[in-house]
Assembly symmetry: C2
Homo-oligomer: 419 residues x 2
């Protein structure tokens, strides 16, 4: 069978499964998640055997040690998956909630009721734990999911899928609610992106190239972020001790992720007092600084920033630094170079805190806290399936609720429309 | 200048205007809407003169009387627009509302705050009043909008745009917040659909062909419905008097719109008693019936329905009729042929009402009320900019709130992330 037909068949099966999933009560879904946690741990020898095939291929292909490490299904990885499943089971089920209800003058009762989205396609790279984490959130929100992982992890993902399918069936749910697309071919992704009759949402997770390819080719709505060029603006009169802790945390605690700081903006009245000690701490931690001319007047040893540094997402121990004449210039810089992802201000001024929050266009805007908090778990959503900088449907971290939508339910007593 | 560059320039100006629009308070936006209402009425001679150019071209092109009528800017049309503007001014402003707020264990206060979407592109056919109605909703929700009407209405839309721009400027708002794309070329639409850096949402309104073209070519999220194949299911034991009023209203009151009934489903235990009187009433009103074999056993004079009738959106005085053996068959028929738009049940049974509401996949599901109520105004949203059967972001009629999104605002006291 050709790939397009195969994908369409899987998508159709997912659609059918989604209709059944939408009708399940919370207990049944939770039971399936708990059962899956057990079955994954029991299947450890099988999963590790299949994972070894991917690891050997990765070594043959000369992948970096870091990438091979991310690919590896260790005992701790499996325990992490099982723990994650139990946490998702413990989350509140968003399905069925009445978001709002009101009565019309003609007596009609109108309600907006939360329902599952339907079928979700997730396209991701390398890490096989995404297979289980994403499946768990989709199951809990009553959806079906088509997973398309990277070819480096194909044996691991196939093995995880077979364990998931069996656990779903054992719990009385349709096995087709979670399917892993087993082919390497990009045609498979293209076929998935065209199947708008069967899929309701695509979430791509990976590098900017993958995401741009998905957006360019999808007829199905896509939730995504291209990159996170996050700023911290240190205001005049800020508590410098607090500002240094926040900036250090935002840059150094985990530099390779999308909510790490990439550019530091400092008010010129704060720069002389703030920057030298901050720079020393960064340098000690191995952070390379790249500064604007005003920065280099204070820190002459710092490399000059070029135009390409301002929109850069380093994902590394590199930081661009710019001294601005006021908050207006800081906001203008963020508007021009930011990615609508995460922006923070450190300030002691009430008016500027309010103005920064109102005027900065980002999915998460923080006052006196680290950019690293743009995360579903950290913000209290329970878990996250990704972060969206598209404004439609979800802007920011996406939890269970973002995997649902609402429909209108109208209760009448024979009302008809007269005009 | 070539079209692509021109469109990109307009999109960029809209983006800049949207930043200013997002900061306006409710009073300023309302003042602009009220002022525009006055200015439209004052500009009646100019608007009618420009409209005449479109009407003459339409007559030369041999457009139908109905289409020419829709195109015509009469005194009553202008008064309707002015009234609509005042109604939108009276609606509650969704921007700035705190949807939810909570405190994390580390003391962070997290809030989801409603903000404008940004820049909205609307692509529509013929009726020039959409230009004003859509602009009004976008302005009230703090957005900028690019409008691309049909070429039949180009002079009218251009004239309306110039009145809108002047009124915006007079009210102290950026004129570029509402722009009408003045070119006929499809290249203009294509350029608009690729400008994802500047536009946040596309809403196409028109025939299925236009909408499929937009979905196929857009990199920007699209909210749309392809068609409305709406059903009324008359259950066993329903109040037949009520059922006949609802069915008649759903089919006859305005057959050319997307929330009109296209197929009637009747429980076999109800068919003998229900159908003859219903059919007589429909026939008297000029409705052509097309029945399944069971229907034709009761109503032998009725034409036979073919397979093509079940997915058909007639938008006309034609109705497909099917007798089903139970509600399960009715729901299966709706699942197969429905368009997720509007579905209604007429029943006296508590359990089946609940089950129909839960299991039918449609943006609006009604019990004992006409399908014609799937409308933003009728359901109490105040006004609507369209109806979405895409599940993402909006499912059903879209009012002011659907022209906004939420961002996360986080207030801290120096919190950093430790893991």
């Amino acid at each position: 069978m050709d790939i397009e037909r195969r994908i369409l068949q899987m998508a159709r099966a997912a659609k059918d499964a989604s209709v059944q999933m939408a009708r399940q009560d919370t207990q049944t879904k939770n039971r399936a998640l708990m059962l899956l946690a057990d079955r994954l741990l029991e299947a450890a020898p099988f999963l590790k055997k299949e994972n070894r095939k991917d690891l050997e291929a990765a070594e043959r292909a000369g992948l970096s040690k870091a990438m091979i490490d991310r690919l590896s299904l260790k005992e701790a990885t499996l325990e992490g998956m099982a723990k994650g499943l139990k946490e998702v089971a413990a989350l509140e089920d968003p399905v069925g909630a009445v978001v709002k209800t009101w009565i019309r003058p003609n007596g009609l009762q109108v309600a907006r009721v939360r329902i599952p989205l339907g079928v979700i396609g997730i396209i991701y790279e390398s890490r096989p734990n995404v297979t289980v984490d994403a499946a768990a959130l989709c199951i809990k929100a009553g959806n079906a999911v088509l997973l398309r992982g990277g070819s480096e992890a194909q044996h691991s993902n196939g093995a995880l899928a077979s364990v998931i399918t069996k656990a779903l069936q054992e719990a009385g749910l349709p096995g087709a609610a979670v399917q892993v697309i087993p082919v390497r071919d990009r045609k498979a992704v293209l076929a998935m992106l065209q199947a708008e009759e069967h899929l309701d949402l695509i979430i791509p997770r990976g590098g900017e190239g993958l995401i741009r390819f998905v957006v360019q080719n999808s007829k199905i709505p896509v939730l995504k972020h291209y990159k996170g060029v996050c700023h911290v603006y240190v205001d005049e009169g800020a508590d410098f001790g607090m500002a240094r802790e926040i900036c250090f945390n935002a840059k150094v605690q985990r530099p390779g992720v999308c909510n790490a700081m990439e550019t530091l903006l400092v008010h010129q009245a704060a720069a002389d007092a703030f920057l030298p000690e901050m720079a020393a701490r960064f340098t000690e931690a191995g952070v390379e600084l790249r500064g604007c001319p005003k920065t280099r007047r204070i820190l002459p040893e710092v490399k000059a920033a070029r135009e390409a540094d301002w929109p850069a997402e380093y994902l590394d121990l590199i930081l661009a630094v710019k001294v601005v004449s006021d908050m207006k210039e800081a906001i203008a810089h963020i508007t021009r170079y930011g990615s609508s992802h995460t922006e923070a201000i450190v300030t002691s001024d009430y008016g500027r805190a309010r103005r920064f929050v109102r005027e900065v266009d980002a999915s998460v805007v923080l006052v006196n806290a680290s950019t690293r908090f743009n995360d579903g778990g950290q913000l209290g959503l329970g878990a996250e399936i990704g972060i969206s900088t598209s404004k439609l449907h979800a802007f920011g971290p996406m939890g269970l609720e973002e995997l649902t939508t609402t429909k209108f339910v109208v209760f009448g007593d024979g009302q008809i429309r007269t005009q």
